[in-house]
Symmetry: C4
């Protein structure tokens, strides 16, 4: 129960970040369907960011579910993650309004990279308190998906200046990689629970 | 208790969606009561959307109250529902500012339809984990109200282009249908609880 | 525990309402202290509304603390209250930007009146489920403060058109009346708890 | 558990305050990296305020964790703190948009000072209900860090009119002082818990 308020605060911030992005989609000026067309890139970047924030919420949910103790380091690592995620509405809007131009698209990737690094740090801090023999450590293993995502962002950022659609494709690819939520933790915990259950019975 | 954080996050997003709509009602320019008149359609569309979001919160509350296990599919079905609901402030504003013109009114209905479909999917995912013999399955029965709503939206969307007031009337009608909250679940759970109670005593 | 999610949702909406008002205080154009002067009426109306929303949160907190069962009627009465409270940022801004002109000041009072009526209805619905012999019924008594507030708003609204400062003074007076939070409930519950305690010992 | 809803409401307000600041960072007009340059002071003031709000959330979390009873005085002292914190987005924006000009920088310090005083009052109210022999009282001791912060703000506010960078440096210094979270409470509670544990075993 020590993680309760940390989860509540993170949920609050994530809920606000995911919702205020839509505030930026100004109502179109015309009153026919054609008036929606210029909004299409803004809408697409909104969908992409919504999916990313959904992924972060999902994985954060699983990560903290496997956390038993919140240290000061975990609190700050969590705030650091929320900081980078809070910049997503800003870069989403910039990228959408400029029709995926190189600089905004690269900046979007940079914020995604920093959020991925912040998540990696948070995960490391939690692992440090849970210990290498914990269910969480077993579940994460070598965290190939996390490391691959960071490598892909590092490719996408410079690529945005050459061919911006490649960067966009990489962002979509990473999102698809993660859309399958982090079931490793779920599965490891379930089996740990089953073990505990068989011990109790 | 597995549903706790899902409810908290959904509550956060719904609370923000329902509240930020009012941010779009800019203070009128004049300082007399007549200055409020041009805001009337904006206000009416705000009232309608507030009622719709209230209905979704209410039914979501009952649905998750009857849910015992949250799978990855449920998490994503829930985020999918929140995505369509998050577009309601956008279409509310567009419809209100354009005095219920055909295209915005039809788009409003389209978002309502997608939200209804998303709710239907979420319900299906939860039913799949709860099983056909669960109290929830019994409570929902054939879900006539849910299916009727979707059929009515499908009528209203094209109707908006012919006679926009018909679409508006349909939206109000569907809201009235649901204003009577989903007491089937409440009743079924209460009777299940009574059974459990009589077993315990 | 049945009231848990109702409280969480209400807290979310109230937290957003109380916070987004400050979003309306645009940063002044100049960079000296004199640039703050034109913001003074906006700031004063913000302080007044912050206090009002704080009072509502406080009393809502006490009211739901004494509630044991949430019926469908209570859910909708609560949403109805949140609807009127959600209009406070709108009227706060209008009143502040127009330096407490008659029509915005009267409209502000109208929204306060409707919120007071909505609170009265919510209280009535909860009393109906708790019963006339409940601790809550004893605590509220004849609810003189609630009725006096509504009467004072009814005086202030027309008064705003004659002498706007009288309306403003009445709003401040009602706020002061309530700043002493609804300790009747707190006290009655404490004594009920003490009784229960003495029964247990 | 009496503190539950107070924490939830405070978390909601703090989550919104910390998140809406980013709404004020309008997307730059150009679509190249140079377009980000004018946003730098706005971004820096955002980072500073994010850190301050993170510190407040952290310390508030520890303070309420050590609180067992919420009186009416605590409720209002908490709302008073939230009031001053809610002004941080406003002064952050003003300071950032005016490139740390004297008056906005001094006003920023004034709001920080008022928030520090409000926190001091809240702490005092909680100490009054917990008693001088409580773990919290032992943990806070003479609260040198709290008092030093207020003294530093009092120096920084007039200094902003002479040399604004001194004020900025002081704000950063105070933030660094607090970035080490209030582990006194954590440590004292842990040792109290260990005592309780040894008593139980």
């Amino acid at each position: 129960m020590r993680t309760g308020r940390l989860e509540a605060f993170s949920d609050g911030v994530l809920a606000i970040i995911i919702t205020i992005m839509v505030l930026e989609m100004r109502a179109p000026l015309g009153d026919d369907l054609a008036a929606l067309t210029p909004l299409l890139p803004v809408f697409l970047s909104y969908v992409l960011s919504f999916v990313y924030l959904g992924i972060y919420w999902n994985n954060h949910h699983h990560l903290l579910h496997a956390t038993h103790r919140v240290s000061a380091g975990v609190l700050w690592a969590n705030l650091h993650l929320l900081f980078w995620l809070s910049l997503i509405p800003f870069v989403t809007r910039w990228m959408g309004e400029n029709h995926f131009a190189p600089a905004p698209t690269a900046t979007y990737g940079f914020v995604l990279l920093m959020a991925a690094i912040a998540y990696f740090i948070l995960q490391g801090r939690i692992l440090a308190t849970e210990g290498p023999a914990s269910a969480l450590a077993a579940a994460l293993g070598r965290d190939l998906k996390g490391k691959a995502s960071m490598a892909l962002y590092l490719v996408a950022i410079p690529a945005a200046f050459a061919l911006e659609w490649i960067a966009g494709a990489v962002y979509v690819l990473v999102a698809l990689l993660w859309l399958i939520p982090d079931r490793r933790i779920e599965r490891a915990l379930a089996s740990a629970g089953a073990d505990a259950g068989s011990l109790q019975s």
